[in-house]
């Protein structure tokens, strides 16, 4: 088996994802601002926001139960744990088995479930509204994501992401089958939904008519909100990492320091491509009405189903 990743490398990659998560958000914000002919905040703004939040005190709703304080901790832990399952600088399964794509989706779903619980805990209508909408969209996205994963997994014979990336190797668009194109198209449709962006959600607003994910964070404050935001940043980069592991090529750079640095640079380049895509989509489309979103997701479903059909038939 090629490119087995030892445990310390896996943990290093996980830490890298957590550290780079806010940078991706900052980059997307900056790109969006430039596309809208604004100067925009610097790419490091999310880090400054986090540092500010972790220095602040906490204000808590009087209706919140004992769960409320632990929700941000558990959400952050589950999201970061999902980061350990994404291959970053190297392909190949980890030397010690951790988890596969299904476990990754499961951990992200756990984080989302706990966020919804936290939103309902304070007994405000905004939290409930956000939770209800998020839990409406999530069951529609998850099967499609799962089918995209299956469409590559059926070819590779495994659902382990490192092994999937190794199976794709360094081949890219020229070697792609029709199924790959369709799967990738489905993934591009789903990406704004999974990262909570336009046209499904709007990360920039706290207006109750438009928000999904932000609505669930309204009652969190101080370090708790910091944990939730860090979890959102991490979730975004983990999702982008999932796409890049499934569809982008991985070159074998070796396991020495230069190899790892080259791998990290290649990963950064792939994430940047996806970040530019997200910024472009956000700047050129309006947010869909909530009840239009299922139709939008249906495009992804059809693409994923066709991709699978092409793989299997």
């Amino acid at each position: 088996m090629t490119g087995e990743r030892p445990l310390d490398l896996v943990l290093l990659e996980m830490a890298l994802l957590v550290l780079l998560g806010p940078l991706v958000t900052g980059t997307i914000q900056k790109l969006k601002a430039r596309l809208q002919c604004r100067q925009g905040a610097g790419v490091l703004q999310p880090y400054r926001d986090l540092a500010k939040l972790f220095r602040k005190g906490t204000v808590q709703a009087d209706t919140a139960s004992g769960f409320f304080r632990t929700i941000p901790v558990l959400v952050l832990a589950a999201t970061v744990a999902a980061g350990a399952l994404v291959p970053v600088v190297q392909a190949g399964p980890p030397a010690i088995p951790f988890g596969d794509a299904l476990l990754l989706l499961g951990l992200l779903a756990l984080a989302r479930f706990l966020t919804a619980i936290g939103a309902l805990d304070t007994g405000g209508a905004f939290g409930g509204m956000g939770a209800s909408r998020e839990m409406t969209i999530a069951p529609l996205v998850e099967p499609v994501l799962m089918m995209v994963v299956f469409s590559t997994a059926v070819a590779a014979g495994t659902t382990e992401l490192g092994a999937l990336a190794a199976h794709r190797g360094s081949s890219w668009i020229l070697d792609w089958h029709a199924a790959d194109f369709l799967g990738f198209a489905a993934m591009l449709v789903l990406l704004p939904s999974e990262t909570g962006r336009i046209p499904v959600d709007n990360p920039d607003t706290h207006l109750e008519l438009t928000m999904l994910h932000e609505g669930m964070l309204l009652e969190h404050s101080g370090p708790g909100l910091g944990c939730m935001l860090l979890a959102s940043h991490t979730r975004q980069i983990v999702t982008l990492g999932l796409v890049s592991a499934l569809f982008f090529p991985v070159a074998a750079y070796g396991t020495d320091v230069t190899g790892l640095l080259l791998g990290a640079a290649a990963f950064a380049a792939k994430i940047l491509v996806l970040a530019i895509y997200l910024a472009l989509v956000e700047s050129s489309y309006a947010k869909l009405r909530l009840f239009r979103v299922p139709q939008y997701l249906a495009i992804g479903f059809v693409c994923a189903l066709t991709a699978l059909a092409l793989r299997i038939l």
Binding site: F54, R55, K56, G57, T58, V59, A61, D62, T63, R69, V73, L76, A77, V80, A81, I96, P97, F98, G99, D100, L102, L103, G106, L107, A109, L110, R112, F113, A116, I117, L120, G123, G124, A125, G127, G128, S132, R133, M135, T136, P139, L140, E142, P143, V144, V154, A156, G157, T158, T159, E160, A163, P223, G226, C227, F291, L305, A309, I312, L313
Partner: protein, 702 residues
């Protein structure tokens, strides 16, 4: 004294102990003549002893040499049949599932019954104790029956005892109607089973399973398939497979909560046991794979049940009814595994190993569902006995009043939503792996069908999470919406102990599932005759689950729930430090932001509102009916009062049952119109019918 081999001795003592305990428990209902409280205590204690004995027997058989059958003749009660018990790996595994939940129910029961209905008379308490012990005893002997007669007698006993438990707590006549529907539906199912069994026993000339198996060997394909579908329909009625599920969401919530836990968590599994026993053992051809129609029917029925079960659960606001619909869903998930195992069984190449993975997934989900559904029903029972409200819209804010119950219910909710790191995820992961492996084996439409089933399973998981975010959030979080919820207090310790036992199982089976695979060896070997579960799934050590989707030897997908759980704990500790912040100041408490108005319980998001977007998305399946009546004061702009009524109909009820009902009514009206009221007309009709029946019989013989 004749010395028996140790296995035989284990079975003999074990079954004697179980029979004695459950018998003593049933008899202790007589104590109710003296004191109802005493009867409750002794009866449940006896049930606990019986359950522990059951655990002992099943673990003894499961950890022993796989692939053997222990038999034990019973006293001759009937001149025409020899009764016996036969315990193989499959029986022992289901015995384990029953005993695990029975332990929790027996610990939980007495305090629950006293707290829920303190004014209950001694007669009712005696009846409940008697029926509970009879119910448990019959379930145990259904799964360890060695002949058709014992099986059917215990099956019937199980139905009757649970019927008694369903109708004991009748306040408004609703439960009696639910019980009647339950009785009618399950007896319809039993009738089908009876036909299946009688055809086999008539050929075999004996009742024991070994003779039936031998007789089934000579059947032709069409008869074999007909018999299988008869048995399948019979068992599916009991298991609550869509569209035969209509009794389930009515009868299960009507029983006392610990009995609901047993009915949902365990009794449905007796039907799964029956399906496995018929499909893989009694009716299976001597060599070669099962007919393709069997597995595909089970797979399709399972997929439909899983999706429709969770969709209807989503729109329920009665906590126990919601849980009952989730049983329909989980039976569907189990049947997906069973169906896939039937399709892949005895297929060439890696198919055998894949069939083992599919069956392992189904059996693991059986025990997982028993654990988390038991836990959730007990949690719902704790809420019920403190508030006497089942409608979650009228609850709320219970997490601060009942922290233990809330925490354990949340644990069960995470487990049933198939979220890691708990047990529900593990069995669904195995099901997904088996489905993917099956899809890569079958090309063409079959493969696509299997993958579609996998996508539906993913949809089911997501919807279950949405449903339990609703159920937990609206019941336990926010503000109390009624005085009863305001006054609720924590459940008694013995009830919490029963829940902790099941909660601990959910965690253990989720974090270290590899150790449970050892218990699955015996049933998988007994049924499939191929490699055992632990050889296929835990090939890389007990902490790692691995399956090969394609040929053995190529890259296997491996996950380690233990590693992930350890990572989660470490990360939680780190995040906790981060959460404390730089100052670790105590949080300032202020009212929730409600746009400047003073917050009341009416600001809480209701369950109806929470589920509304999904009601719109799946409107084609729900056919929602809503009625809004406005009461205006002269002009349409001044609204005095708005009355809103909404309803979701169960499609199978309106499309199938109501049509059948209308058909029967029409037919009986037509017959009434033709009735003359003259007695010789009827006698002539009876004679004519007899003549035709004899004629048909003669043609059939000839």
């Amino acid at each position: 004294m004749i010395s028996l081999p140790p296995d035989q001795e284990l079975l003999l003592t074990g079954t004697l102990l179980m029979a004695a305990c459950y018998g003593a428990g049933a008899l202790s209902s007589l104590l109710a003549l003296w004191s109802g409280r005493l009867a409750l205590g002794t009866g449940h204690l006896a049930a606990l002893a019986g359950a522990v004995a059951g655990l002992g027997v099943s673990l003894g058989v499961l950890l022993g040499d796989p692939g053997r059958t222990l038999t034990q003749p019973l006293p001759d009660l009937f001149p025409f049949a020899r009764l016996s018990l036969a315990v193989d790996g499959l029986s022992a595994y289901f015995l384990l599932v029953i005993s695990v939940v029975a332990v929790a129910a027996a610990i939980y029961g007495p305090a629950y019954l006293r707290a829920h209905s303190p004014d209950a008379g001694a007669a009712r308490q005696g009846a409940q104790v008697f029926a509970l012990n009879a119910f448990l005893g019959c379930m145990v002997f259904v799964c360890s029956a060695g002949d058709a007669l014992t099986f059917l007698l215990c099956w019937e006993g199980m139905t009757l005892a649970s019927y008694v438990l369903v109708v004991t707590d009748d306040r408004d006549g609703k439960n009696a109607r639910a019980g009647l529907l339950y009785l009618v539906m399950t007896h319809g199912g039993t009738a089908l089973l009876l036909v299946g069994f009688l055809v086999l026993t008539e050929r075999a000339g004996a009742f024991d399973f070994a003779a039936l198996r031998a007789a089934a060997g000579g059947l032709d394909g069409a008869t074999r398939t007909t018999l299988f579908f008869l048995a399948l329909a019979g068992f599916a009625t009991k298991a609550g497979v869509v569209p035969l599920h209509v009794w389930l969401p009515r009868a299960h919530p009507a029983a006392p909560s610990h009995v609901s836990a047993l009915m949902s968590g365990v009794m449905l599994k007796a039907a799964i046991y029956g399906m496995l026993r018929f499909g893989f053992d009694l009716l299976a051809p001597v060599a070669g794979p099962l007919p393709a129609s069997w597995g595909w029917t089970v797979l399709v029925a399972g997929t439909i049940s899983a999706v429709l079960g969770v969709l209807y659960a989503l729109q329920q606001h009665d906590l126990k009814r919601l849980l009952a619909f989730h049983s329909v869903e989980n039976i569907g998930i189990i049947l997906i595994g069973v169906g896939l195992a039937m399709i892949l069984w005895r297929a060439e190449g890696a198919g055998g190993a894949l069939a083992t993975v599919a069956l392992t997934a189904a059996l693991l989900h059986t025990v997982n569902h028993a654990a988390f559904k038991g836990l959730l029903f007990l949690g719902a029972g704790s809420v019920l006995c403190r508030t006497h409200i089942r409608n979650i819209e009228e609850l709320g804010g219970l997490a601060r009043r009942m922290p233990w119950t809330a925490g354990l219910f949340l644990l069960g909710a995470i487990a049933i939503s198939a979220l890691p790191p708990l047990n529900g995820f593990v069995s669904e992961w195995l099901t997904f792996q088996a489905l993917l492996g099956g899809a890569s084996r079958f090309h063409g439409a079959a493969g696509l069908g299997i993958v579609f089933s996998a996508a539906m399973l993913a949809l089911t998981g997501g919807l279950a999470a949405a449903c339990f975010a609703k159920a937990f959030g609206v019941t336990f979080l926010g503000r109390a919406r009624t005085p009863q919820a305001e006054r609720a207090t924590e459940a008694p310790p013995s009830m919490i102990a029963g829940m902790v036992w099941l909660g601990a199982l959910c965690v253990a089976l989720g974090v270290a599932p590899g150790y449970a695979m050892r218990l699955l060896d015996a049933p998988t070997v007994a049924l499939l005759g191929g490699p055992g579960a632990s050889a296929v799934v835990t090939a890389q050590g007990p902490l790692v689950l691995s399956t090969a989707l394609t040929l053995p030897g190529t890259d296997a997908t491996a996950i380690s729930m233990t590693m992930v759980a350890a990572l989660l704990i470490a990360l939680t500790a780190m995040a906790w430090v981060l959460r404390r912040g730089a100052w670790n100041a105590a949080p300032r408490t202020v009212p929730t932001w409600t746009c400047g108005m003073s917050p009341t319980a009416r600001f809480d998001y209701t369950a109806t509102a929470f589920a509304k977007p999904l009601r719109f998305v799946f409107a084609a399946l729900y056919r929602p009916r809503r009625e809004v009546t406005r009461e205006t004061a002269g002009t349409p702009y001044v609204v005095r009062r708005i009355h809103y009524a909404g309803e979701i109909v169960d499609l199978s009820e309106t499309q199938i049952y109501h049509r059948v009902e209308r058909g029967i009514s029409r037919l009986s009206r037509a017959i009434r119109g033709r009735s003359t009221g003259r007695i010789y007309g009827y006698i002539g009709f009876v004679l004519g019918a007899l003549f035709v029946a004899l004629l048909l019989f003669g043609v059939g013989q000839g």
